[in-house]
Assembly symmetry: C2
Homo-oligomer: 323 residues x 2
Amino acid sequence: MASRKDVAKLAGVSPASVSYYVNKNGYVSKKTGDKIQKAIDELQYVPNQIARSLKIKNTKQLLFLCNDIRNPFYSQLVYRATKSAANLGYTILFSSVVDNEDYINKILSYQVSGVFASNNKMDVKQINKIAKAQVPVVLLRDLDWDDLDSSVSLIKVDFSSIMKEIVTHLTENGCDSIHYISSSSINNLDAKAISFINAMKGKSFSIIEKVSATKEAHDTIYNTYKEKEDFPSSFVCTNDAVALGCIRAVIDRGLRVPEDVKVVGFDNTNISQYSNPEISTVDIDSEAIGDFAVNILLDKINGKKRDHKKIIPRLIVRKSSMK
Amino acid sequence: MASRKDVAKLAGVSPASVSYYVNKNGYVSKKTGDKIQKAIDELQYVPNQIARSLKIKNTKQLLFLCNDIRNPFYSQLVYRATKSAANLGYTILFSSVVDNEDYINKILSYQVSGVFASNNKMDVKQINKIAKAQVPVVLLRDLDWDDLDSSVSLIKVDFSSIMKEIVTHLTENGCDSIHYISSSSINNLDAKAISFINAMKGKSFSIIEKVSATKEAHDTIYNTYKEKEDFPSSFVCTNDAVALGCIRAVIDRGLRVPEDVKVVGFDNTNISQYSNPEISTVDIDSEAIGDFAVNILLDKINGKKRDHKKIIPRLIVRKSSMK
DNA sequence: CTGAAAGCGCTTACAG
DNA sequence: CTGAAAGCGCTTACAG
């Protein structure tokens, strides 16, 4: 591929002028500019962003670390972030984190301009290592980490209020036992699950751990209650896909939703909107989070301080949890 | 951040030796190696992949161009591709294509090692431009382009057989009119729609264009038939999300699925598996496509020739299209 | 307004 | 086994 040098030679000017022209900084006379443009067109010259990055120390790439892009919450987030970033001249490097010891080093080696981390596979130490290497970091996380590097910006979803709202809603609709299906494990509960437990203070509940997909949810719930006489009067599920599987398990057990058992999901995906019965769910504006992530990252790249951001989820009551 | 030079100085060796040691090529004595390792640990040295890329002319980044990552078909594909690529030391740069004239130049400027294009916003000329710049390209596409650069590898999904299978299935189950809901526009039908038309030779049908999401599908279908007495006896939908909206429209019209109207979707997402009624659909192994994309790209990067690849979809009959 | 030159951090033939 | 040196393609102070 043609380089700046080739263009300079063909145009009969110095390589420096080509740079000045291409980047529209420095002074280039109209005449020289025209000659350069002609050479660029002729050679189909495209500047090498890698060489540029090496020099200016900004790759204009934002690394997005997500647990599972197949989860609509994340795919929406990434979708929006990609657009926002593109508008600002940045590109999204996407990764589901690889549980590799060397992974952080690899990230660092790519010299990305910023990192958005929404995954639960990284610990404080790893995040801090990135931050200490002067790479701006935005974290989507709800639990506090005492020793988190102070340069990291947080986007927090306020689960505690919404969980209280859900519990109140279910209780008012006559549920005496509320069970929670969590994607995290009991040993290491995520913020959603913890908020649920807090909201249930004084009430009886149980938690089913490590369930995040529809089929898994169906099978686990069905099997858990197969031999038991009692069946819970309601379930709160970590996401809509799980809620869907949960409803199926209820039906397979010979019970009805919402008459016998009420179900609430999370994320307000079209699964919840169009399933039968329609599923009550929690809307968390993932597209807004995608936008915030990019904007905060860019502010940080440009040296501005940014505070934490709080996202307020919204309960959407549909048929699956009505009286 | 510490550079190779700093490590060399601290270890008391030459920068070249550090390179040889880090990349495990060239000879470095055990003693020198130990000194270098100590310095690396002390300085928390991470090699700069950007500088490396500039020199070796391989960024080890694969660009994935998809229409819409929110579509489960693509999110699964990307999910798997990310994993495959990571195993091979490559990273996925993700982009929903931006309809920007300069976009191809931007891609080229990033010096990516390979491009996977599955989107319908790029034309042959753009693809050819990438290919001509010596960047390996894999295209997910079913229609032929006569003037496609011969270096491009295709992954083709065989829609024509599966569409015939669907039509036969619906006809045998008593449907006398089959309507197709396409995400593409009538002026520029995609391979799925064209295969549908071919499969319908001699039968009557109609096509509703530019519908790709659940709500959109519901509203469009509902409104299209609101005033009419007749209602189609079956719908084939471009994806499961659309099929879901379609079923809703049927129900809102006061008809039943599958007794009065039969519906078939595409992609075998969990929407289809767990909706009520369960939706007949077509399984296209998007994870396999993700794997193929990465593997073919890597072979091409390593100078091997690769042929086209054909993917055979599979009809999954569920309740929504049964007698 | 334009160009020669230093330098970003690396790799790798080559000489010793 | 090790190091000095050229070079990847760019940017940008600096001198003219």
